[in-house]
């Protein structure tokens, strides 16, 4: 079946590939839209990163005067929103766009025009969000959690923030609908659910999480909007409302949101480790069930973010134990990745380096999460830099490292060229070292009592803040290597001849030529090909 595919591909290359700006503005091809998502996510990563650099410069020593406290708080808020909604999530949607159709043998996403719309909403959403820095008064400065009554005190920037959140939410929901519809309906004949690659599985579960919780966030911010402009009192205590209820609704969205950012990472790691261990993934089905269990549990743990608001003891116990339960399926995953590597023929190319670092560093984030799950201990950790250290280990050395690993893994398939391996390894080692210099000291600061979200601090916190800031600048600078490696690869990388760039790789994407043709799988792959790819 490979021949007819090659035939139609060659035909399609000449006849159906749009050129110029129209190719991108009116894009309906999943690869083009995937590329646009990845580029946009990279741009937002550097904008959010620039905010982080200012934050770390301000905190380099006590009494920092680089920015005034109001601007500092706005930068904290925008950094969080931009990194979550602008960098991590779009990167995953970009990878989903690129890889899901290739991996399930589909010619494209099921709803290509909707796909275009969900991408093009994003630039407007983020322009609106960043524009809040320039409106009179102040940009939103109440943190990415937008707790009332604080968030209701901001002037013109408030409706802009709410509208931006709505737009990002709509974009994510449309993307999730597309993923679900594509996976449920466009799998090639023979591609059964339990033959799907783990990346597709994790994305399917992520998409269900998205459609369940993004509307909840949208509902919450709509109620904030009506409280502010239409005299309702959903969260206004003076009018009989309950501000703590906003926290419940927000975290009902917010906790699954963490898994929305990390489940696709589990999928990527489950692709990379078997490839560079030259062994099938250990416990494929257990991985699928573990992912589904984590997704289910993510709906019943939200109040662990708010142990200190005055919950009843029974609720505290329930949320403490349900949170600790997440360690079980997560442990299954880490064990399976380690078991996949056990006695494997390991090599350490850049994707594998990022995957192994992910394993260690994400586990550190997981363990500090368990510490935070303990109610009595959380009373000490809550609102400190320990929490900041925890979620940055999960999201930077977890989600972001997995995204970088994925880029290095699939870049030769996307571009048809091999990147500069030495530079990519430099990127890895600088990132892996400095991410720890940046975030590990924040555990000590938190345990010593340094509160988060403050522009100044007591002198006893100086040393570790200096170390953390130095790590931050070095980590930030080293990230410039990633776009350079990609740009150099696309421009002048050595051409990749084989379909399969990595000798241990399995999956339908590796049966296609490199670069993957503009129209792929116009004729579905044969069952034999699917069975060969599904050797989990």
């Amino acid at each position: 079946m490979a021949e007819p595919h090659a035939e139609t591909t060659a035909h399609a290359e000449h006849e159906h590939m749009p050129h110029g700006w129209r190719r991108w503005v009116f894009a309906t091809n999943h690869k083009d839209i995937g590329t646009m998502y990845l580029v946009a996510s990279c741009v937002m990563f550097f904008i959010g990163g620039a905010a982080a650099m200012v934050i770390r410069a301000q905190l380099f020593q006590p009494g920092g005067k680089l920015v005034d406290p109001g601007v500092f708080n706005s930068l904290i808020t925008l950094h969080g929103l931009i990194m979550i909604f602008g960098a991590i999530m779009p990167a995953w949607v970009g990878l989903a766009n690129w890889m899901i159709p290739l991996q399930i043998g589909a010619p494209d996403m099921a709803l290509p025009r909707l796909n275009n719309l969900s991408f093009w909403i994003l630039p407007f959403a983020f322009s609106l969000l960043i524009a809040t820095l320039f409106v009179p008064g102040s940009a939103p400065a109440g943190g990415w959690t937008m707790y009332p009554p604080l968030v209701l005190q901001f002037g013109d920037s408030f409706p802009m923030l709410i509208f931006a959140i709505h737009l990002m939410g709509i974009s994510s929901i449309l993307g999730a609908i597309n993923v679900i519809v594509t996976i449920m309906n466009l799998r090639a004949p023979g591609m059964t659910l339990l033959r799907m690659p783990l990346f597709v599985w994790t994305w399917l579960i992520t998409a269900f999480l998205l459609i369940a919780v993004m509307p909840v966030l949208a509902g919450a911010v709509t109620m904030l909007l009506t409280d502010h402009f239409f005299g309702t009192s959903f969260f206004n205590a003076a009018g009989g409302g309950d501000p703590v209820m906003f926290q419940h609704i927000f975290w009902f969205f917010g906790h699954p949101e963490v898994y929305i950012m990390i489940l696709p990472a589990f999928g990527v790691i489950s692709e990379i480790i078997p490839t560079f261990s030259r062994k099938p993934l250990f416990g494929y089905e257990a991985m699928v069930y573990a992912t589904a269990s984590i997704a289910f549990l993510s709906f019943i743990v939200w109040a662990h973010h708010m142990f200190t608001v005055g919950l009843p003891v029974s609720a505290q116990l329930f949320f403490m134990f349900s949170t600790m339960l997440i360690a079980v399926p997560t442990g299954v995953k880490v064990f399976n990745w380690a078991a996949t590597m056990w006695k494997g023929s390991l090599t350490f190319e850049p994707p594998m380096l990022f995957a192994v670092a992910f394993l260690f560093l994400f586990s550190i984030g997981g363990f500090s999460g368990l510490m935070l799950a303990l109610v009595p201990a959380d009373y000490q950790y809550h609102g400190t830099y320990f929490v900041v250290a925890h979620f940055h280990y999960v999201l930077v050395s977890g989600a972001a490292f997995a995204i970088m690993g994925a880029v290095y893994y699939w870049l030769p398939k996307w571009s048809g060229r091999m990147y500069d391996m030495t530079l990519a390894k430099w990127h890895f080692w600088l990132s892996a070292i400095f991410v720890n210099v940046l975030f590990f000291p924040q555990h000590f600061l938190g345990l010593a009592g340094m509160p988060r979200r403050i522009p100044d601090y007591a002198v006893q916190f100086t040393d570790w803040n200096m170390v953390s800031s130095i790590g931050g600048f070095a980590f930030g600078l080293s990230q410039l290597l990633l776009p350079y490696v990609v740009w150099k690869c696309v421009r002048s990388g050595k051409r990749v001849e084989a379909n399969k760039t990595w000798d241990g790789a399995h999956g339908l994407e590796w049966e296609l030529p490199s670069p993957a043709p503009f129209h792929s799988w116009t004729v579905p792959p044969s069952e034999a090909l699917i069975a060969r790819g599904a050797e989990h």
Partner: protein
């Protein structure tokens, strides 16, 4: 959803089967999209309705 250029290279009976499969698949795509969209709307309005109910029926 096979593009037109793929179908052009096929025999008429193959084209017919493919068109049938295609229209069946389109129906399934529409149905799934509708169901998923309804779930989204249910969660959005459901949470707002829940809050409105809570506001009008406060705890003792």
């Amino acid at each position: 959803m096979a593009p037109v250029h793929t179908m052009r290279a096929m025999a008429p009976e193959q084209q017919e089967t493919m068109q049938q499969e295609d229209s069946e698949r389109r129906k399934r795509v529409r149905r799934t999209t509708l169901v998923v969209t309804l779930v989204v709307l249910f969660f959005y309005f459901g949470f707002i309705a829940m809050m409105m109910y809570r506001a009008t029926h406060p705890h003792p």
